[in-house]
């Protein structure tokens, strides 16, 4: 099967490079469908050589060329995680209806930041972020019941 450098893969590479530059990341490991990317940046100004690991049926592979630069940082394998409810109760996105929500999609929060409240028997329990992360998606609806272990936030560790 011919090498597949479809536009979508190249676009993905470009996006990864942009993200790395914007967020000053040293290394990204990304799996999208059958394509795996590991991108390592040398120094802080320019992205370095790319290593693309194609699916097993492809013929060609590009080999990395090592360069002498600052050591890279290993990031955790899993990019996305789900924060689940620790209890049964009613989910609230804001401290009260007049105030803004604790978090919105796209926010990056530090560990211990309050993400929401869950109310049970008239007691409002603050739910803190277990680690610093970016809020990708809010999975529960405001003022609705949530059960134990129910997914509340899809996040990316930062």
């Amino acid at each position: 099967m011919p090498e597949d450098k479809s536009p979508s893969t190249l676009d993905l590479l470009k996006q990864v490079c942009d993200i790395m530059e914007n967020h000053d990341l040293a290394e990204v490991y990304l799996r999208e469908g059958e394509v795996t990317l590991r991108v390592r940046r040398t120094g802080t100004s320019m992205p370095g050589p790319l290593v693309i690991q194609p699916p097993s049926y492809m013929h060609s592979q590009t080999e990395p060329t090592e360069s002498n630069s600052a050591p890279s940082v290993q990031l955790p394998h899993e990019v996305e995680e789900v924060i689940k409810s620790p209890m049964l109760g009613r989910f609230y996105r804001a401290p009260n209806p007049d105030k803004p929500p604790y978090v919105e999609e796209g926010d990056t929060v530090a560990e211990e930041t309050i993400l929401c409240q869950i109310e049970a028997m008239k007691i409002f329990n603050d739910i803190p972020a277990p680690f610093s992360c970016e809020i990708l998606e809010i999975l529960a609806e405001d003022d609705t019941p949530v059960e134990y272990d129910q997914p509340l936030f899809r996040v990316r560790r930062t």
Partner: protein
């Protein structure tokens, strides 16, 4: 009429309660731990909420989660089932505060009968005989806790045991349901077991108080089912014989008892009614008695809840006891008087409890995936179970997986049907106590109705 009931339990009893609710047109809410995601009671209920991880303390016993679930679903009432919070007076109080009806007796009933030593005191006042023991001994050994009959020291225990005569039972005040009991056959055993029971009791119930009782060999365990409404009406629905037990846990139950003479039956029933009236009891309950070889009967304990073996009473009376509990909780009057019930009594019923345990390997628990489930059928056969093919029996809860009940016009017919049903019953993938049930059904002593609480030791 209740619109919605939350079932604060799991397993076969939760399925049982949901079935009656559906019969009555009442909506149901199931609560479950993560280990019970695929449980049958969750599939059958109208609404369901996951309330915690597998551990019962974090899920089925957690007051907060149960009340929250009831409030989120606007449930009118909670049925606590058996075990768990069924006799928890505090939980009943919390329900009341939140305007949720606790389906069961009153908070006072639960409090009074919950402390086993206090219950004996109350029942003695109501005219019931107690097994000779630290509560009843005339010698007045007890200085510290004359009311409760609590034994404070090894010396006290030894002194009393000498007067009562061995064997003696050392029992945890907060025990019940067969838990927190050890039997001593001599001084040395008593010396050891006295401390054993205390530490076991402390660990299990948070209360190390124990009392002493004469242990009667060849005793029969006879219990009387009662129903009472809030209008002063009390009836009994006959007795159950539950003598076949393993480590004080019931295995086989039947109604009526094959060994009670009509005279004693009548006396026990009347005594039960008298006792229940005296404590202003309401809803469903069971008074347990010990009957000695001379037909003397002694009050053991009162269970202020529905019992696992309520089924055999249902088979001989045709009355749905869960339905009665619900009706009584709604404030209705009893639908039957004693003569109605007596007229409805019909035939004989036997129940075999089937546990996920290996009877050939010291009853080691046998959780796991059910691979091939085929329950028996036919006339007079009833199966109460939460099993289904592919279901994974979790390891976190008690091992009861099915109740097999056989009814016949007489005991012989019931036994024949039970034997046939046990042969048909297929539960693949796990070990069960079905082989033990079969052995019991073929045992000469059982067939002759000669069953005592030491049956399985013989």
């Amino acid at each position: 009429m209740f619109n919605k009931i939350l079932i604060a339990n799991r397993g076969e009893i939760a399925v049982r309660i949901i079935r009656t609710c559906r019969d009555m047109g009442i909506k149901t809410v199931a609560v479950y731990s993560t280990a019970d995601q695929d449980a049958l009671h969750v599939k059958y209920a109208d609404e369901k909420y996951c309330i915690g991880p597998p551990s019962p303390t974090e899920s089925y016993l957690k007051h907060l989660s149960l009340i929250t679930a009831a409030e989120l679903t606007n449930a009118d009432a909670i049925h606590p089932g058996v075990g768990f919070l069924a006799e928890d007076a505090l939980f009943a109080e919390i329900c009341k505060e939140h305007k949720i009806t606790f389906i069961g007796p009153s908070i006072d009933n639960l409090t009074e009968m919950g402390d086993k030593a206090e219950a004996r005191e109350t029942m003695a006042k109501a005219g019931l005989e107690l097994v000779p023991g630290s509560r009843r001994h005339k010698g007045g050994i007890l200085k510290k806790n004359p009311k409760k009959g609590v034994i404070e020291s090894e010396e006290e225990a030894l002194e009393l045991a000498e007067k009562l005569g061995y064997p003696v039972g050392i029992k945890a005040v907060s025990g019940g349901g067969g838990r927190g009991i050890r039997i001593a056959y001599n001084d040395m055993a008593l010396r050891n077991l006295f401390y054993t029971v205390k530490s076991e009791a402390e660990a299990a119930f948070g209360n190390a108080e124990v009392y002493l009782e004469k242990w009667i060999e060849n005793a029969r365990h006879i219990e009387v089912q009662v129903l009472a409404d809030n209008h002063g009406n009390v009836i009994h629905l006959g007795e159950r014989e539950c003598s076949i037990q393993r480590k004080q846990q019931k295995l086989v139950e039947e109604a009526p008892s094959p060994s009670l003479s009509p005279k004693i039956r009548s006396e026990i029933s009347r005594a039960a009614i008298r006792a229940v009236r005296s404590i202003g009891f309401s809803n469903a309950g069971t008074i347990e008695f010990l009957v000695d070889p001379e037909d003397n009967f002694y009050f053991l304990e009162m269970n202020t809840r529905i019992q696992v073996e309520h089924t055999v009473t249902e088979m001989i009376t045709g009355i749905d006891l869960i339905k009665e509990q619900i009706r009584l909780a709604m404030g209705e009057e009893l639908g039957y008087d004693q003569s109605d019930v007596n007229a409805m009594m019909n035939g004989h019923a036997i129940e075999c409890r089937i546990n996920a345990e290996d009877p050939d390997n010291n009853f080691t628990p046998s959780p796991g995936k059910i691979d091939g489930y085929l329950p028996p059928g036919g006339i007079g056969i009833r199966v109460d179970s939460h099993l289904y093919d592919g279901y994974v029996v979790p390891p976190f809860y008690d091992s009861l997986v099915a109740k097999l009940i056989a009814h016949g016009r007489d005991r012989t017919e019931a036994i024949a049907r039970m034997k046939r049903a046990l042969d048909e019953f297929t539960i693949g993938g796990i070990k069960t106590t079905i082989p033990l049930c079969k052995r019991i059904m073929n045992d000469e002593r059982f067939l002759n109705g000669l069953v005592y609480t030491n049956f399985l030791e013989g």
